[in-house]
Subunit: 537 residues, 2 copies
């Protein structure tokens, strides 16, 4: 890409604004700002450009293509009035960082704490998180992982319905709020992982089709047509997401990205978009001297994703392994319905300890095919394990956490299983004190048809689980409020006990070299199915 060396959208440098927008079919593109209309100039490869000193921080704007409806900027950095409103000009570089001495720890030292901004605290925003950092430091985790913050419709959403990948959710505190939080985390010695979604865009407030072929009909995903990473016009789409990655690292000092469901990124190009992202991040790291990690959620058990680029992999640093969770949950007595039907218990858990992937070539009845590849050559830090996470809790019809499903002692055993593994452990917010509130699925779409479709979709999804009771209404504010952590639980002895247990366990993991050095080759799990016992040596 010679045509556009900077981020799409509006950037401010020395009081001068640079505007880039991709609209390859357009004959005319105008910037509607305050009461002005500024015409952009056609550049190469479908881009339109303008530099102007009439554009200032705080200005609200939209674009009009060929004189049509005014649309928000697909690379908007701020949507102060929500997904359908105007975009706002902000200057990401204006933040005064105080983290010059921060060093991203080695990935092997990551102990991750996944949280959802809206429900982590009663405030439901970045400031709320900041107020709880001391709790996290004393717990002993070394990184927080923030569920997606890209602007979504309304104020209640897990984050996977984001439609402005460059704009930080206004109700959480926007870009400035996130920068402040990251700075505060670094001051307290915590790394920050940000969850980002590059496999689809949400259904409401999605104005991309008004600009260009961001989607392709070549591939279908669970969320409709796939994002266009290899069809005509794909270079601009690739550039859009690569620049997004670079923005989080460069302008928000994010330490690692967790890329959502990368198996739904369909790309048959000679260089897969993930490999191109990796190369771009390598260049950035060369330039800045800062380390950044790329973590993927991937449902394919395919080491191609985490193998180095020189071995024809995509070069991702680490990936989630849900299969460890599934095996652990069945071992703990969880029901074998739905996707759990592939997992038999302690022998599979032992396999996850030993081989990372439970299915590494065998026939999977649930998937009805031979599934997976062998991960023999991959290091322990390349796999992230957990006994619960937002999906495994929230995708249950009722959103029950382990606290409701397993005994107190079993919860401790599950925590032990995760924290003694030769992989990177991850906790889900509140599990450290056995939070009893559920974490339910919630949205706040403003389009009534869509809201109804979401309700219906949720119901259909649970056919395989045969769960009892009525599904909570995802649109209801109550569902959201009831999903929030109850910090006052910590005055209760039982919850304090669990918190202390987690603290001790984490401290133990850090202090004992056999636990902290993640040597897969020196760790061996042996299952005794008769006694349902697993021995780690």
């Amino acid at each position: 890409m010679n045509q556009i060396n900077t981020r799409p959208g509006i950037s401010i440098t020395d009081n001068r604004a640079s505007v880039w927008v991709w609209a390859p079919e357009a004959e005319k593109v105008s910037l509607k700002l305050n009461s002005k209309s500024l015409d952009l100039q056609k550049a190469e490869r479908g881009y339109w450009h303008l530099t102007s000193d009439e554009i200032n921080t705080g200005d609200k704007y939209k674009f009009s293509i060929d004189g049509g409806d005014e649309l928000p900027d697909p690379a908007s950095l701020s949507q102060p009035d929500g997904v359908h409103g105007s975009s706002e000009v902000i200057d990401l570089r204006a933040f005064a960082w105080k983290d010059a001495n921060w060093q991203n720890p080695g990935l092997e030292n990551y102990i991750i704490y996944e949280l959802h901004t809206g429900t982590f605290t009663s405030e439901g925003d970045f400031r709320g998180i900041e107020a709880k950092l001391d709790h996290l430091v004393s717990l002993g985790v070394t990184a927080i992982e923030i569920m997606p913050v890209a602007q979504f419709p309304g104020e209640r959403n897990w984050g996977y319905d984001g439609v402005f990948p460059y704009a930080v959710q206004n109700s959480y505190g926007g870009a400035r709020g996130l920068q402040t939080l990251v700075d505060a985390c670094h001051a307290k010695g915590l790394a920050v992982v940000l969850d980002v979604v590059y496999n689809h865009l949400g259904p409401e407030g999605n104005y991309f089709n008004g600009y260009g072929p961001y989607f392709t009909e070549k591939y279908n995903t669970p969320w409709g047509n796939a994002i266009n990473f290899d069809d005509a016009g794909c270079d601009a789409v690739r550039h859009y997401f690569i620049e997004n990655v670079l923005m989080w690292f460069r302008d928000f000092h994010i330490d690692a990205l967790r890329m959502d469901a990368v198996h739904a990124i369909k790309d048959f190009s000679p260089v897969h978009i993930l490999a191109e992202i990796k190369s771009s991040v390598d260049s950035l790291m060369q330039e800045t001297g800062q380390k950044h990690y790329l973590i993927v959620e991937c449902d394919l058990n395919d080491t191609r994703y985490i193998n180095p680029i020189k071995k024809a992999g995509y070069g991702m640093d680490s990936q989630w392994i849900d299969e460890f969770h599934h095996a652990l949950r069945i071992t703990a007595g969880g029901e074998q319905t739905g996707y759990y039907s592939d997992f038999s218990g302690i022998d599979h858990l032992a396999k996850a300890y030993n081989d990372a992937y439970v299915y590494d070539g065998q026939y999977s009845p649930h998937r009805d095919k031979n599934f997976g590849s062998k991960a023999t050559e991959n290091g322990g830090e390349q796999f992230i394990v957990f006994s619960q996470n937002h999906d495994q809790v929230g995708n249950r019809m009722l959103g029950e956490r382990s606290s409701e499903l397993f005994s107190f002692e079993m919860q401790k055993l599950m925590a032990g299983a995760v924290l003694t593994s030769p992989y990177l452990p991850m906790l889900f917010m509140g599990e450290e004190w056995a939070e009893t509130n559920r974490f339910m699925y919630f949205v706040s779409h403003t389009d009534p048809e869509l809201a109804e479709a979401v309700r219906k979709g949720r119901k259909e999804e649970f056919a395989a689980f045969h769960a009892q009771g009525e599904a909570p209404d995802p649109m209801s504010e109550e569902t959201y409020e009831n999903s929030k952590l109850q910090w006052n639980s910590l005055s209760n002895d039982k919850h304090k006990l669990m918190l202390n247990f987690y603290r001790e366990l984490i401290a133990l993991r850090k202090s004992l070299p056999p636990l902290s050095k993640l040597s897969r080759k020196e760790t061996k799990a042996v299952a005794d199915t008769a006694t349902n016992t697993l021995t780690l040596t």
Copy 2:
């Protein structure tokens, strides 16, 4: 696959028939044969099986699933009454081969002659081809490439509408006819390449959906849903096509397969189906001591397809490069419409000589993206070039060959360009004497709606070409008859002259080491755009 170690369909061994069919959703599968109904037994993974001595060569049969309509066998070896009729039991192993001394030549010695069975001779069948082998031997080509022969609807089809990948078109002479032809080719020192289609199945007589999930909705191709190579149930589909490859090599003594449009094979498995085919063929070659090659038509300029498996490639031996053709045609004065718009002439031709791919990373305006990868490490025998082929001729609205589009002397120059390249040359039937009959697109669907859709589709396809005149009717028998070679042309001096020119040129290529050894590194093309001259050193 432990469940089925043999070919699907019906095989005869020692007068006993073994029947395998995949019908994963079925409760009951019956074989309807003569006036009998034999129930199959359920085996693992959705397969159904039967061994019986009540089934004999020549018997006609269908299957009934759960008591429903009787359907032909998806792995039928013979469809004597066409695509909608019964399947026929035949014994592929009964043929008495006389080619024990045949040795498949090194791929670098292949000089390929592409032909279409129906239009190569007035007979329009395998016997017709056999009668012309002496012509081909005296021409000097070393291999014939037969356009697809899998059973298609009616008697007129290029072959890409085949719906029984295991059955040889009855009107061509069926399985026995093909075996006889291959044996005759080997006796005359000619190798046989067979064109096979693994990226889609034809629209008429396609009974696959009655059996199982042979298709997946995950991916869309120009021909509808993609064949299921990586979705639930894919193992049986993969097995089906792998066994098909092995059948051609083992039971038909085919020397190489040319796999059609493999870019439309969508497979995100850890092991791509082409790589799995390669491994299976490697095992077969170990077993039999015979060499077999895998050639692909691929529109991606991605060396992953032709790189060895140990370098994370798919291990294909060779691939077509249409770009050489496109550059050559523009250099020769061809019109720059449609996909030719990406090609500028002699500089691109020089690039094809030097780099194989014209686009190896640059921006392609026609594709509207950066396109291709560098093929620096791939040998000359990994690329097949031509100045015309069935597609480049027949996909023109009127089907004009080079003989009609270029001067006599220019045709000679184009032949020279192909036969002096450091790649494998391929001729299209009749070009050696500048055949004047067109090679048009023809079908003989029996479904009237489909026939109309094909007519309509053809017209839309030519929008970009702005070709003059009326499109020939693909359904008309006249279109087919007028596409046949006119062998009596050879009594004409001009055609004789061209034939002699080709003979001399091929003989020259074989006798001169700089031409025959395909050393890409020692061949260098330099273009002089001012004089439209290319120098090979």
